[in-house]
Amino acid sequence: MNFDFSDDQKFLKSEARKFLEGRCPTSKVRAVLDDPDRSYDADLWKEVAAQGWLGTAIPEAYGGLGLGHLELCVIAEELGRALAPIPFASTAYFLAEALLTAGSEAQKQAWLPKVAAGEVIGCFASVEKPGALTDAQVQARVEGGKLTGTKLPVTDGDVANVAVVLARENGQPGLFLVELGGAGVAREALTTLDPTRGAAKLTFAGAPAERLGEPGEGMALAESLLQRAAVLLAFEQIGGAGRALEMAKDYAVNRYAFGRPIGSYQAIKHKLADIYVKNELARSNAYYGAWALETGASELPVAAASARVSASEAYWFAAKENLQTHGGIGFTWQMDCHLFYRRAQQLGLVAGGTKAWKERLVTQLERRNAA
């Protein structure tokens, strides 16, 4: 029994951390935050691509590193820890995974090498209005290979070259690949809670659309895609939550009040202990998701939902209580606390909110118990 990452994977992780500590200090994140015209750091994107990280889980045959999802998980944790302001998730978790799981040989040949090389940015266009993703949400239509409809919000839709779109064909939801550079596509950048990650409203008026997978499989493919992304996002979340705890701890040790470090007061001690406990539980749930993802185990639906719920709640708690621990300075623009507070929300919503995932989890548990 071995429920931990291998030494090679841990080495990859520490290398990734070193790299990001050098290339992605929070000053780089703030540069994107403070610049209304940018929603990601193009230089960092190139540097990350040059590391080959985008192709971590892509077979060598398609220009990837041919490593696995466990390796992608450790990189995800470091990207989350660094608050990396790049469209990595949209490209590596959504576009690449959609191609790997549903793409035809031709589609893989056409796109995966570009993904691995960082030549394209992807995005996942699923929802169209408030509320969880449901079949009824999907109103966009594909007729004769042309897509018509509106999707919002679409994370990274403002900078993506290609979108994985959920749309109806002959009344049935399907998954489609749509290039965003061409005709019939209008995009409107959105202001969001976390300006360090972009989002857009995409309006399609007869844009050419190529189906991924079989007709009518759309919802099933989307669910499986969301499960895979949920695991990878969980690692970004525990990465961020872990760093938020470190921030709180460092501040609590160095900040004095009434002649003592505030970390010597039980209110702060127990607050940080609570963060720690939630983080550890989230980490364990994320590891299990990683195992299920890597091995294609039948536990994936339950493991992914558990990882998602646990990580989303842990990050939100860590981010808001880290800020609280900082006191007055904590809610100033100059302190980094709000960067984590914003990202915790962004990551908690991007693949669907906790509420929806709790519902998925219980539904899966009921299925499992019934079986």
């Binding site: 993703l133 202001t191 009434f258 006191g327 919503l349």
Partner: protein, 405 residues
């Protein structure tokens, strides 16, 4: 128990309402604190002062009408029904000027009370410091006698979290005058002219985008010894007078419960009429009993006040209940919108934009005017009478207190 006015209360209410109908500003009213808004606020304050509605409970000699608490409450309730300008005078009339009236010298009282009451001059409170946080007695801003023997003081240092400093005329400033005695004994209070070029006011940019607070820097600020409020070394006692009022002003979270109610009903709107989701229904119930409980606790406090009794616990529990509550309501609402909740564009998603604004201001609410943690200490020690935590900073010279640096 009776929510109706007594004949006496009804009479006063009718009189106040009539006066407000005749005198309250008509049409659009600026409630912000830009120059134009300040002008309107000052004019309205002046009119209230002239009619004896500015500081109702203050004694006549200071321009009040020696009225009762219940009268002030009724006027406030009635005034709330009219569109009135912002109130940049709260800190001055609620904390600073009362401090001058209690601890200041005759000359200062005569000089300052009237203009402040009439809204001609605005005051700010200069207590908190970067190193101090909730620990006002740890103030490091240094005041030393001028070497020229004039008796003047030279002040250097920095204050922070000062509301309204950018438009204040005067401020009360607590300084360290003797670092060789225990922290509470080496402080002295002064009033300062905020227009002095030796004072530099810089707005603090908050995560919410707002910047209502300021940093205030003092570089060789020279003040006369006559600007001292209270004795040398007596600054802590003087600041207590000010802070007692502050808890009531801030701790009460006067309108928070209304904000929570509005938020909660917006969540209901979001969920559509007749919420289906049982989880959300239970949350709405939780929010309601807390916000309503707080509103009613305020009514108990008002009753006590109007009976001339000391205020109840409400002042201390208001904020500690509502600030985390609002953070929870906003987070729940955004979660309900799922992916859509990330959108901050009011035109595309008016509700989620509103909830996000709350989400970004809630952290400040949980901290400004006493963190959740400090307020719970206050409840435990002052209300429940639990023993103080161990204090390692009390019986040593201020300069010897550990600071980690």
């Amino acid at each position: 128990m009776d929510f109706n006015d007594t004949p006496e209360e009804a009479a006063y209410r009718a009189q106040a309402r009539a006066w407000l109908q005749a005198n309250a500003p008509k049409g659009h009213v600026r409630d912000d604190e830009d120059p134009a808004g300040l002008k309107e606020a000052k004019a309205w304050q002046a009119r209230k002062a002239a009619a004896g509605y500015a500081c109702i409970t203050w004694p006549k000699e200071w321009g009040g009408v020696g009225g009762a608490n219940w009268q002030a409450q009724i006027f406030a309730q009635e005034e709330a029904n009219f569109p009135t300008p912002g109130n940049p005078f709260q800190i001055g009339l609620g904390m600073c000027v009362p401090t001058i009236m209690t601890c200041g010298n005759e000359v200062d009282k005569q000089r300052f009370v009237g203009p402040a009451l009439r809204g001609e001059e605005i005051w700010c409170q200069l207590f908190s410091e970067p190193s101090g946080g909730s620990d006002v007695a740890a103030s490091r801003t240094r005041a030393v006698r001028a070497p020229d023997g004039s008796g003047d003081w030279i002040i250097n240092g920095q204050k922070v979290w000062t509301s309204g400093a950018q438009f204040s005329d005067f401020g009360i400033l607590i300084c360290r005058t003797d670092p060789d005695v225990p922290k509470h004994k080496g402080l002295t209070m002064f009033w300062v002219d905020m227009h002095d070029p030796a004072i530099d006011v810089r707005p603090i940019h908050q995560m919410s985008g707002a910047s209502g607070f300021n940093e205030v820097y003092f570089t060789d600020l020279r003040v006369k010894d006559s600007q001292r409020v209270g004795e040398v070394g007596d600054g802590w006692r003087v600041s207590i007078v000010t802070l007692m009022n502050e808890r009531n002003a801030i701790g009460g979270g006067s309108s928070y419960h209304r904000q929570v109610m509005n938020l909660a009903s917006s969540v209901a709107t979001l969920a559509g009429s007749g919420i289906k989701d049982a989880a959300l229904r239970e949350k709405v119930a939780d929010w309601y009993v807390q916000a309503e409980g707080l509103r009613l606790t305020r009514l108990r406090t008002q009753t006590a006040l109007s009976r001339g009794q000391t205020p109840g616990p409400e002042a201390s529990i208001g904020k500690v209940v509502t600030a985390p509550l609002m953070q929870d309501v906003a987070n729940t609402a955004i979660e309900l919108e799922d992916q859509f909740g990330i959108i901050a564009d009011p035109s595309l998603a008016p509700l989620s934009a509103m909830f996000q604004a709350t989400l970004m201001s809630a952290p400040g609410m949980r901290i400004a005017g006493g963190t959740d943690e400090i307020l719970k200490n206050i409840i435990a020690e002052r209300v429940l009478g639990l023993p103080q935590d161990v204090r390692v900073d009390k019986d040593v010279a201020f300069k010897d207190i550990p600071t980690g640096r």
